[in-house]
């Protein structure tokens, strides 16, 4: 089953990434039955946000809030200049902390030419990337 991402949320995701450029941006997705129903921006608390993203307290509170609403937690972040695919560091860190969690990634690598790229994937406990089909839907 492809992940469903409403167009309005996809636009919001890209807008967040563009506003944050050249830093990476991050946030929480609320997911129900494979459909992204909410996106919440989190502050990137990394010391060097150009190269890293790290949630701060606000991000963790968003995680708890999304869970309280009985939604599945998803996580998104942006790559301002690198591909829409998790880096080795993304794989190493997220496999230890949030394995199998749905992740959305927006890359602005080709934003000036072919446009932004958005991908969905999960990282398993061994650090393998499982790419999910992503459908951007109009409603």
């Amino acid at each position: 089953m492809p992940i469903q991402l409403p167009r309005s949320l996809a636009d919001a995701l890209v807008a967040h990434a563009r506003e944050g450029r050249p830093d990476e941006v991050c946030g929480v997705a609320g997911v129900r039955d494979g459909r992204v129903v909410r996106l919440e921006r989190a502050r990137n608390a990394a010391a060097t946000p150009q190269y890293r993203f790290t949630f701060g307290d606000d991000g963790y509170r968003l995680v708890m809030q999304v869970e309280r609403e009985d939604l599945d937690v998803g996580i998104y972040h942006s790559h301002p200049a690198s591909p829409a695919y998790p880096s080795a560091t993304d794989r190493a860190e997220m496999s230890a902390t949030w394995p199998d969690c749905l992740q959305l990634m927006v890359s602005l690598r080709h934003d000036d030419t072919t446009g932004p790229e958005v991908n969905a994937y999960r990282i398993d406990r061994d650090g393998n990337v499982v790419v999910e089909d992503l459908n951007i839907v109009d409603s």
């Binding site: 990476e24 991050c26 989190a42 990394a46 010391a47 060097t48 150009q50 190269y51 890293r52 993203f53 790290t54 949630f55 307290d57 991000g59 963790y60 509170r61 995680v63 708890m64 869970e67 599945d72 937690v73 996580i75 972040h77 790559h79 200049a81 690198s82 998790p86 880096s87 080795a88 560091t89 993304d90 190493a92 860190e93 997220m94 230890a96 902390t97 949030w98 394995p99 199998d100 969690c101």
Partner: protein
């Protein structure tokens, strides 16, 4: 007020994040005892097998990436694991959400690269993804390995069959006094790991020969030559040509050194010297002596050329031969070109299989040749012949 399976009075509500719910039978919320965070976690760890390993390291410390919140405040801001828990408190265990194109440590380590427009994060990733083979962990391989490792080249292969000897220590800076008697590849691995543990070292403790060269070279993006004898030099050259790889070549002799880069279709060592010198006339494999520091300069230039090739920046020494004279402190650059009649990279190659020139190494030399050899050795120790057939470039 919740009651556990054991009938114990419970009053603290614990939020279990998605990644750990397999351990709690799918429960997002479980009840826990008031007291302290430490007591609560100990209780949970005993009730839910497997949870302890997810929360704590081998020494029993909470993993750095585990955040514990009490009523929406992180316990590091409170009293850590000694934070008191009262009835009705909410405890949340949340693994860190973090990632990036580098780790925190890498961002600091490579910060001077990240500042450079021509390297930057994407260039640093190229370095980290690169696989470089060093032939020899000696005078040239030492500085090359140290600098490539420090710069963050992801995988460094090293082939050497030798053992560290006291006579190496005057110039082979991968090895120290304590390493005498150890395999060079193992000493090299330890030194590299100490400089940069991000680097993967692949140690090949063997003699490079016609049976292993192709399989070995195939595994790497670039080959850095640090050999000290003609048989290995020709073998490495031929294998690189046959595989269509690029080799960063270097050599030293007493007070002189040279560096060049052989890229596919753009010439090779045999374009300059089609055949090894005849047996007997060939200088001994024993060293004619070499000035300390000189290999450091030549090996460092080899490392620099390797970095430029990986990054795709600047103008590598392809079709050029850099000569360095330590005594006059002069660098000269000669232009070279591919020889269409080259026996290995020419239009009609006659050498299509690797050759082991064993006879050039370790055989007794007739006494009448000793004098001749001594004269040769004063010019060359087997690693370098100064080209006479190339014209000086502009």
């Amino acid at each position: 007020m919740a009651t556990s399976d054991l009938g114990v009075k419970m009053a603290v509500n614990v939020y279990i994040p998605t990644p750990y719910r397999a351990l709690t039978g799918g429960q997002a919320r479980v009840a826990g005892r008031p007291g302290t965070v430490a007591g609560l976690l100990a209780d949970l760890e005993s009730r839910f097998p497997g949870l302890r390993q997810r929360l704590r390291d081998d020494t029993g410390q909470l993993h750095r990436y585990i955040n514990v919140y009490v009523n929406n405040r992180e316990i590091d801001e409170l009293q850590g694991e000694q934070t008191a828990l009262n009835e009705g408190d909410e405890v949340s265990i949340i693994p860190a959400v973090a990632g990036g194109i580098f780790t925190e440590e890498q961002v600091k380590r490579y910060s001077r690269h990240l500042l450079l427009q021509d390297v930057g994060p994407l260039g640093q990733r190229k370095l980290m993804n690169a696989r470089v083979l060093l032939i020899g962990a000696g005078g040239l391989g030492s500085p090359a390995a140290l600098y490539l490792a420090a710069a963050g080249v992801g995988t460094i292969g090293i082939i050497d069959f030798d053992v560290v000897d006291h006579s190496n220590l005057q110039r082979q800076i991968l090895h120290g006094t304590d390493d005498v008697g150890r395999l060079k590849v193992e000493s090299a691995r330890d030194t590299i790991q100490n400089i940069n543990s991000n680097v993967k070292v692949e140690a090949h403790n063997m003699i490079l020969d016609s049976t292993n060269a192709l399989d070995l070279f195939k595994q790497y993006d670039y080959i850095v030559n640090g050999v000290d004898n003609f048989p290995a030099r020709y073998l490495a050259n031929d294998a690189v040509v046959m595989l269509g790889k690029t080799m960063i070549d270097g050599g030293i002799n007493q007070f002189e050194g040279l560096v060049s880069v052989y890229a596919p279709g753009q010439g090779c060592y045999r374009c300059l010297y089609p055949e090894p010198p005849p047996p007997g006339a060939a200088p001994s494999c024993a060293e004619a002596g070499v000035l300390g520091v000189l290999p450091g300069i030549v090996g460092s230039i080899e490392a620099l050329e390797t970095m430029k090739l990986i990054l795709g920046i600047g103008e590598p020494l392809i079709g050029r031969l850099l000569l360095f004279d330590a005594l006059t402190m002069e660098f000269r650059v000669l232009k070279t070109r591919r020889d269409p009649n080259c026996p290995v990279c020419g239009d009609h190659p006659t050498i299509t299989e690797l050759i082991d020139y064993h006879e050039y190494c370790g055989i007794p030399v007739p006494p009448e040749l000793e004098e001749q050899r001594a004269a040769d050795a004063s010019r060359s120790n087997g690693a370098v012949r100064t080209p006479e057939l190339v014209e000086a470039g502009e």
